[in-house]
């Protein structure tokens, strides 16, 4: 009998149960308190104290879920412990305080004394981002982003973000070509931003040229006698059934098919169709008016060419407005 009892007792003692390391209530509460204190120390920009508290929190219940959080913070803080956490403390102060131009100027000067490394790079990122996003000073932001890019040992993600920020700064300064040059210099030629900037750089020339072409087409077409197209005879000539059907066929099916194929082409495809319809109508009425005016074939040819160019220009402006130009560049890898 007593062997039986020994067996049962042995089993009870061997019972691992289902608890594989769950901390008991008291250490868990203590751990939570330590963690809360550590997080408060981080908020107060006292990283050395925060690291010490996180270590204590981790050690209070090492296999717990919250120990993992403590371990992550310890690793993060220790990777930034250059200068005995001094530079990190300064960076944390800046990050958590009010962003003003004076504070950024002062901090930008201070960070030049930081040792090279993570904290100095992150400090440059802070300054550059503040100038661009919160203080809206793209010129200063550009200088700061360039200084960040010049840091040694920059990781690819940091470089990408710095370049992205610098390009945004250039865009705000209206310098699409500068942005393109920067992307090329840093080797980010496959970035979506590249296609956007190419479209923007093209637009700097193409937009005013398009408006000019439209105005000239309107002026020439109407001035050469096209206005007669609005007379009853002109309307009958312009709106012949054959012309209307041809125009509808040229405009409507592509818009419908494009939108059905890709819903993201709404509303750009219907708007493009609408603009083309207006251009075709103008061409029809102007042509009818020129015929009624007895314009020479040379004048009518020039008017036709001008109207075509005007229509293409109007189409370009719509495509540019709805980012179809950059989409085309991306699609064709231009």
């Amino acid at each position: 009998m007593h062997q039986f009892l020994i067996g049962l007792t042995a089993c009870a003692l061997l019972l691992p149960g289902r608890s594989w390391g769950q901390p008991s209530a008291a250490p868990a509460d203590h751990q939570r308190e330590l963690l809360a204190e550590a997080e408060a120390a981080e908020r107060d920009a006292v990283p050395m104290r925060a690291a010490s508290l996180y270590r204590s929190a981790r050690d209070a219940a090492p296999t717990s879920r919250l120990a993992r959080r403590a371990s992550s913070r310890i690793a993060w803080l220790e990777a930034r412990s250059d200068g005995d956490y001094g530079p990190l403390a300064e960076l944390m102060e800046i990050q958590r305080g009010e962003i003003t131009a004076a504070r950024m100027e002062a901090f930008a000067a201070r960070l030049e004394t930081f040792p090279a490394g993570k904290v100095r790079r992150e400090s440059r990122a802070q300054v550059a981002s503040a100038w661009l996003r919160q203080l809206d000073q793209p010129t200063k932001a550009l200088v700061a982003f360039e200084a960040w890019l010049a840091e040694p040992d920059l990781e690819i993600a940091e470089r990408n973000i710095a370049v992205s920020g610098a390009v945004q700064a250039r865009k705000r300064l209206g310098d699409a070509h500068g942005g393109l040059e920067l992307l090329r210099r840093e080797g980010f030629t496959a970035e979506p931003e590249m296609y956007h900037l190419r479209a923007a750089a093209l637009g700097e020339v193409a937009r005013p040229a398009s408006w000019l072409a439209i105005v000239l087409a309107l002026a020439f077409g109407l001035g050469a006698g096209g206005w007669r197209g609005l007379s009853p005879a002109g309307v009958r000539l312009a709106l012949s059934p054959a012309r209307v059907v041809a125009a509808a066929y040229a405009v409507l099916p592509p818009a419908v098919i494009a939108t059905a194929y890709d819903f993201t082409l709404y509303p750009s495809a219907p708007v493009l169709a609408g603009v083309c319809t207006v251009a075709l109508a103008f061409a029809a009425f102007a042509g009818a008016g020129l015929r009624l005016s007895g314009a020479s074939s040379r004048v009518r040819l020039i008017a036709a060419a001008g109207t075509s160019l005007g229509a293409l220009s109007a189409g370009y402006l719509v495509a540019d407005r709805y980012a179809l130009v950059e989409a085309l560049f991306w699609w064709r890898g231009i």
Binding site: S64, R69, S72
Partner: protein
């Protein structure tokens, strides 16, 4: 002589009692199930797993290929967060064995080649899948080529765990294991224990930004993370998923974070429920009326005292949004005990409140779902799609005769205030800055409190009935923060 029977009885009792407690386990024998789509119950779990329809699926397989490798290890939940976790990983196409060793002693797991001592074994299933893009380049008549096409992934589900406990695990097969990772189970349901989750979305094509976001999430010590959709640019292109997992920042690959910080996401219009998405992730499969994708199209996760509902707003037809998901949402929230689970979050891709320069607000989605959010007082809705950061003022109800939301009473920083003990409105957060090209943001919409066009992620801390939210730029500075206390 009398001693022997007593000893024998004692031994039998000892064995039986210890088996009941789990100290000794029968050798696992996962019956071999094979086909283009399989369904089985993982050992020790009380839920079924159904694979999507793939080129080949096999549970209980064994063996490794001639050139085995293991990568793309990542964790998630398909069952209760406090007692399970699921792991997916990729291997070469010829490796059929799917094993996961786990325990609470890191050194023991590292040393183990098989189950024993404190280290346990869980077997799972493997799938070889190929998207229509993969298949497009293969001669369908070539059986050998068809047998090799695509990607092979593995999935294992571990159940019966303790809450709030860190487990170490590795995946693969004897002699060919991944490195050891750690993952934690969530707190017991309804607990007041603090927990932290990270929020991001629209990682898409700038993978080094995505890697930096993952590194930041790891550094923040998040317990788990949510993603509001558009993980990649084109869902059926496997190469993009490879980049999603393999992107590296600061010496840390995204997959190394995803293996430690469970990842839960909503489908986006770029993921499009592609086979690559469905086969590579394990989420709860609660198949409901009108739902596709073996129940992974929409689902919920309980963590601590919060419920997160993941919806799909990229659907083949509107009925899936206006009827099926709406009904599911209503029934799900109606049955929820808000005393035990005071926090409710919804995650879906397209924002219903956005001041962004591209896409903007999806008002038809707003009309379909906001009434349910209002009725059940959802706390925060997380969205993506508009590539920037934006937080709304608290919204409750509609302006008369329109589908414009009503800005509810708000306190400092435009956060909800308590009205009759409940937050005055739902906060809508767009977090879509984890890698996709940024869109312009705006703050001059009536519903917008904060907006910025910047790469970012967010951290949500919950302790009992208090929530702290902080959105961070990747340089560590804070874009936005607020607190809600119930």
């Amino acid at each position: 002589m009398k001693t022997l029977p007593a000893l024998g009885l004692g031994a039998i009792t000892l064995l039986a009692a210890c088996q009941q407690t789990g100290a000794i386990r029968d050798d696992q024998e996962l019956p071999s199930i094979e086909g283009k789509q399989i369904r089985y119950t993982p050992e020790g779990c009380d839920y079924d797993v159904t694979t999507p329809e793939v080129e080949h699926a096999l549970a209980g397989g064994t063996g490794v290929g001639p050139e085995p490798f293991v990568d793309h290890v990542h964790a998630s939940w398909a069952g209760p967060s406090h007692s399970t976790f699921a792991v997916n990983w990729r291997t070469d196409n010829l490796t059929l064995g799917t094993q996961l060793l786990y325990g609470t002693d890191r050194a023991a797991v590292e040393a183990a080649e098989e189950e024993g001592g404190s280290v346990r074994l869980q077997r799972g299933h493997t799938m070889r899948y190929a998207s229509f893009i993969d298949l497009g380049s293969v001669d369908r008549e070539d059986a050998e080529a068809m047998a090799r096409v695509g990607t092979r992934v593995h999935e294992a589900h571990v159940c019966g765990l303790d809450p709030s406990t860190t487990y170490y695990y590795k995946v693969g097969n004897p002699g060919h294991w991944s490195q050891v990772y750690d993952v934690s189970t969530g707190p017991a349901p309804g607990t007041k224990e603090p927990f932290r989750f990270a929020v991001s979305g629209d990682s898409r094509n700038r993978v080094n930004i995505w890697a930096a976001v993952q590194k930041a999430i790891l550094d923040a010590g998040a317990d788990f993370q949510i993603h509001s959709g558009d993980a990649v640019n084109i869902g059926p292109i496997q190469e993009q998923w490879d980049q999603f997992f393999e992107a590296t920042s600061g010496g840390v690959a995204a997959q190394d974070v995803l293996a430690r910080v469970p990842f839960m996401m909503a489908n986006g219009n770029h993921d499009i429920l592609a086979i690559n998405y469905l086969a590579q992730f394990a989420f709860p499969q609660e198949e409901s009326e009108g739902e596709s994708s073996e129940g992974m199209e929409w689902y919920h996760l309980d963590y601590g005292n919060a419920r997160l509902l993941f919806l799909n707003d990229t659907t083949a037809n509107d009925t899936i949004i206006t009827r099926y998901q709406r009904n599911w949402l209503r029934e799900n929230l109606r049955s929820l005990d808000r005393e035990k689970t005071p926090w409710v979050f919804v995650v879906h891709h397209k924002p219903t409140y956005s001041c962004g320069s591209t896409h903007g607000s999806d008002t038809s989605l707003r009309a379909a779902w906001q009434p349910v959010f209002d009725e059940f007082k959802v706390d925060v809705v997380f969205n993506g799609h508009v590539h920037n950061y934006e937080r709304s003022r608290p919204i409750r109800g509609f302006q008369e005769g329109s589908n414009a939301g009503v800005v509810a009473a708000s306190g400092e920083r435009g956060v909800p205030v308590l009205v009759d003990g409940e937050p005055s409105g739902t906060v809508y957060v767009v977090s879509a800055g984890a890698g996709a090209p940024l869109y312009g943001s705006g703050t001059d919409c009536y519903h917008t409190q904060v907006g910025e066009s910047v790469e970012h992620y967010a951290i949500v801390d919950i302790e009992d009935r208090t929530l702290w939210f902080r959105a961070y730029r990747l340089n560590g500075s804070i874009i936005d923060e607020f607190t809600i206390t119930k």
